[in-house]
Amino acid sequence: MSEESSGLLRRRRRKNSLFTVLLAIPVIIVVFILGHMLGKIFINGVKALNLDFFTKAQKPFGEPGGGIANAIIGSVIVVLLATVISLPIAVLVALYLAENPEKRIAKTLLVVVNALQGLPSIIIGIVIYSWMVVPMKSFSALAGGVALSFIMIPLLTTTIREIFVLVPGSYREAALSLGVPRWRTTVGVILPAALPGILNSTGLGIARIAGETAPLLFTAFGSPYISTALGKPISTLPLIIYEYIKSPYDDWHQKAWGAALLLVCFVLLITVPMNLRKDRSKG
């Protein structure tokens, strides 16, 4: 009897160890894949980097040389535009949600914001095409910025709302008990308390939209020239990666990797420190 139960115990222990190993293998696979991806981007991307890469516009089909300055400038313009549009709207909507948590319309609004956030970004692209590119009869940096803002607004609204909810209720109550109006309470107490969090989520939002391609295909469209005009088509880093890797030229492939390296570095430089900070404040 005792021999039999110790055999059972051994079997259970062996099963337990096997389970741990089975869990560890996928983790190793996932770590390996990410390592492979980052390594490949770095090794292939570094080869493309030189002064021209950052300072010259792209050359026409098949001509060697040139750079991706037009896409770098375009990315900055389109992303800034989207941020300028999104931030005020997102703060106001998040305030609405935080000030009226019990209203039915606020609950509907939250469902809508979540739905917008889950919307495939290509849909935003063709809708903005219909709204802006068709009437203006031209692809434009402006349309690209608006399309990206549709991705950014729901993202910022949900994260900023959470920040407002985390501001201690006692702050608000203290201000209100002194007879301060609601709007002064928001401007003087809530917003300053939430400011670091708002900046943090804006940073994450910028990192997210900087890599978006699908909403820009039919709005910003891309352009080989260095341009800062909002009414004209403009290229961005993701657009140039997509355009270049589809081409048959090795030189362009290499530039696509260079652009990918630039984009990934930018995104990770923002997200990694912010994710580290987020975890610290939580724990």
Binding site: N16, L23, A214, L217, G283
Partner: protein, 289 residues
């Protein structure tokens, strides 16, 4: 400035969001009307998509979308569930668990077009070798390549959700199991996993929503063929990838309208999966409080 105006401004902003959402839906419906008038419901069952003969049926892309997403989900689940369980239950040291969560966030923040770039140069040649070995035409690109990369892309969502709900399993019932002599594996499979099954179901739906609408990486890897896929080695297209690859080249209004109709289908499907997924998350949150 007074409080009345303050609340009016806030309500105005809220209204703008509601109107925008309604306007997006309205635009999709209005712009796809010509297609609905031309085909009615047979648009959903039509097997031909030919801009030259002006014939548009969505079935190949519906099949392509479902096939790619489900294969991706199937490939992804064992990986993401394991990562989630390890993060939620096994990594006790704060350093390791933070490192793992930063790592998973890294995976989530890499842009789709970069996944596509990596997939074209890494996954496609591997799939090509597999196709040669299995006796299929060695395109490399196709449903399988798209699904493989998609599987990696949805890991972070499923893994972080699993680890979140895993951490919410009450210590009392886990300690109870351990006190009765259960091994860690018996505790995880017997107590924790059944406890979080609704969370896992929600995670599956939310990642499915992601997979259905994912555009760039899939467009770069799926081969962009408009005929019906007949195996996972076939070239294909998803609702999103056909719009991405053909919209700028569309010459007729009907072609453009047909793509608006595809986008409308995508809108409805992703809206429903998200809604149901979030309902389940909300319910399990309420039940656990």
């Amino acid at each position: 400035m007074n409080d009345r105006r303050y609340f009016r401004i806030l309500s105005g902003a809220a209204l703008v969001i509601l109107l925008l959402f309604a306007a997006i839906l309205l635009t999709l419906v209005v712009d796809s009307l010509p297609t609905m008038q031309a085909y009615g419901l047979s648009f959903l069952t039509g097997r031909q998509w030919n801009p030259v003969t002006q014939e548009f049926g969505a079935l190949p892309f519906l099949v392509g979308t479902l096939l790619t997403s489900f294969v991706a989900l199937l490939l992804s689940l064992p990986l993401s569930l394991s990562v989630g369980i390890v993060m939620g239950e096994y990594l006790r040291s704060p350093f390791l668990s933070k490192a793992m969560s930063v790592f998973i966030n890294l995976l989530a923040s890499i842009p789709s077009v970069v996944y596509g770039l990596w997939g074209m140069t890494t996954v496609v040649p591997l799939v090509q070798k597999l196709e040669i070995a299995a006796g299929f035409p060695p395109y490399g690109v196709g449903i399988l390549s798209a699904a493989l990369v998609l599987a990696i892309m949805i890991i972070p969502y499923m893994a972080s959700l699993t680890s979140e709900v895993m951490k919410r399993v009450p210590d009392s019932i886990k300690d109870g199991a351990l006190a009765l002599g259960a091994t860690r594996q018996e505790m995880v499979t017997g107590i924790s996993l059944p406890y979080i099954r609704s969370g896992i179901a929600a995670g599956v739906l939310l990642s499915l929503g992601r997979a259905l609408g994912e555009t760039m990486a899939v467009t770069m890897l799926i081969g962009n063929a408009t005929r019906m896929p007949n195996s996972i080695f076939s070239l294909g297209n998803t609702l999103a990838s056909v719009v991405a690859s053909q919209f700028n080249e569309a010459e007729s209004d009907l072609h453009r309208s047909a793509m608006m109709a595809l986008a409308l289908i995508l809108f409805l499907v992703s809206f429903l999966t998200n809604l149901i997924g979030r309902k389940i998350v909300g319910k399990s949150e309420a039940a656990n409080v």
